[in-house]
Amino acid sequence: MKKVILTTILLTLLALPALAKGNRLTCSGSTTVLPIAQATAEAFMNANPELDISIRGGGSGVGIAALMNGTVDIACSSRTMKAKEITQAKSKGLNPTPYAIALDGIAIVINSANPVKNLTLKQIRDIYTGKIKNWSEIGGNKAPIVVISRDVASGTFEVFNEKALAGAKVVSTAQLLASNNAIATTVGNTPGAIGYIGLGYLTSSIKSVSVEGISPNSASVKDGSYPLARKLFMYTNGKAAGAANRYIAFIQSAAGQKIVQEQGFITLN
């Protein structure tokens, strides 16, 4: 009898944290995914008032590390996990599982007063590595180029670095900013500036240029012709279950994808 009581107490103690977490969901990571996560969480909580979804930014790398440390249920990421991260996660007994929630293009943005309309990938690389320093070298006004980039925790930076810079070093004079919003604001306030942001952060005070002659829009991102197109992800440990599963399924549903579109991103289908 004592064994039964002891076993019951032990099992109850083990189950308590899981029960306590049943109505709470924590997400952290990519600042690009942040507006999608916030807007969909708000809609999902309205429909499910018993749920409490907490959303934090920090960058894709921060979210993935938090998932590996077991402190969040969902890591938001604007890039796929690296082999090193997957290896570390698996060694800890975790099985990071990706769920695509939206498509995005990394928009190359300049001040709305800048007449430049198109850049090639080589020109973008040369601007970001400091070889091209003045807009007049690429058909613009005679004005120095102010290069603005993202910090290292940013998944957007990693994708941009891989697809546009091919791993080249960003010029040391570049301003490194911590969020899409900060880049959009700075480019809007700086006539000679160039930056890159998720499509959802485009505003009227900045303009996006086409890359290799292709504009970042729904069609070019979906068919993959836009050179800086990518998927946005949510990662869970193992197959999403419970509230996490319901929340991600909501984002992937027609209602969720409508919110994705409202936030300025591209739907999956």
Binding site: G70, K84, N95
Partner: protein, 366 residues
């Protein structure tokens, strides 16, 4: 010394686009009691506070594919001369663009030794990794390695050539050693939570023929080091098991000194954060070090450790910035098989250690 170090690294750092400054301090209290066979009671052997490690690191990112790391260990303890010391722990550069293979890095300089668990030993327990504890391999050495990750998280690998003498040894016998050490390491993760690994390293000590008088050197030996690793991490339970062997071969004329030593280490950890809501781990360790084949230092040691970790002040990624560790370790030598070791001054001991670790890091953008 500081000025010299500054002169050496500053030019490199000036070229970096980003520099991460980090530190990790290990403040420890050690109370150790022990006795040799025949002693009637334990004697207190140690009772002291120390800064066992004081790592200060600079990581310079020159581009997305080239990064450098420089770490010194400033330690302070009444066990060392002048009560303090400084060791250069790491000074290397990672090139991930030299060989066009994904996730492959070429590392040059004073770096990690990818043998067994020594290169990613997380110090869940206060003690060193088994291969470090029993002097099979050094935690850092000068050399050149290719290290990388298999696709889709299937594992990792490393191949390297090192001096083979570590980063803190010195003396004429090291100067005489002209044979490099070669290393191969592979870890596979067939499924989440299960890691299988193996390492092989060849090394040598001293020079076959003495330079001074061209006679055979009785101390010259070659070593074959092997390591097999199993890690199972499921839910709150994480268990490492490691088996190592060290085969030491002397020149033919001195082959009577040949021997093989083995070590078995099992390190379980139970993470209680989900249960208690606080980041607390229960840790343990069982070691069996068998050096009974070594004529000059026969010993068979059993070491058992129990401990608890309390992690707090976490950063944004939930990594603990502060950790309090309490360990008790009992080391017992087999009396019959350890005569030589006892003669060398070893004693059965019980050691209580309380350690407070704290870390910081900050990234400075150029």
């Amino acid at each position: 010394m500081a000025a010299l170090l500054g002169m050496l690294i500053l030019p490199g750092l000036m070229a970096a686009e980003e520099i991460k400054l980090s530190g990790e301090m290990w403040n420890r209290w050690t109370l150790e009691a022990g006795k040799a066979p025949g002693d009637s009671s334990d004697a207190t052997l140690r009772n002291n506070f120390s800064l066992e490690r004081g790592y200060i690191g600079l990581e310079a990112k020159f581009s997305e594919t080239i990064k450098g790391r420089f770490t010194v260990d400033l330690f302070s303890s009444d066990l060392v001369k002048d009560g303090a010391g400084l060791k250069l722990k790491y000074a290397y550069v990672d090139f991930s663009n030299l060989i066009p293979l994904p996730d492959l890095t070429v590392t040059a300089g004073l770096q990690k030794v990818y043998f067994g668990t020594i290169y990613d030993w997380s110090y869940n327990l206060i003690g060193k990794a088994p291969s470090d504890e029993y002097k099979l391999a050094n935690s850092a050495d000068y050399g050149l390695t290719l290290n990388g990750f298999l696709p889709a998280g299937w594992g990792e690998y490393a191949f390297g050539v090192y001096n083979g003498e570590g980063y803190k040894n010195y003396g004429a016998n090291l100067k005489d050693n002209i044979d490099p050490a070669f290393l191969a390491n592979l870890r596979l993760m067939p499924l989440p939570g299960l890691t299988l690994g193996g390492s092989l390293m060849t090394n040598g000590s001293e020079r076959r023929i003495k330079l001074a008088d061209a006679t055979a050197n009785s101390s010259y030996n070659t070593q074959l080091l092997l390591d097999a690793l199993l890690r199972a991490a499921f839910g709150p339970v994480d268990v490492w098991a490691e088996y190592m062997s060290k085969e030491v071969s002397f020149a033919d004329a001195f082959s009577a000194k040949n021997y093989t030593a083995t070590a078995l280490s099992v390190v379980p950890c139970l993470k209680l954060n989900r249960l208690l809501g606080a980041d607390i781990d229960l840790t343990g360790r069982y070691d069996r070090w068998d050096e009974t084949g070594n004529p000059s230092n026969k010993n068979l040691l059993t070491a058992i450790t129990g401990g608890v970790n309390y992690n707090f002040m976490h950063d944004d990624s939930a990594n603990p910035a502060m950790q309090l560790q309490l360990n008790y370790t009992s080391k017992t030598y087999d009396e019959e098989k350890s005569a030589a070791a006892y003669a060398n001054g070893l004693k059965d001991t019980g050691t209580l250690m309380l350690q407070f670790k704290w870390r910081f890091s900050n990234t400075i953008k150029a």
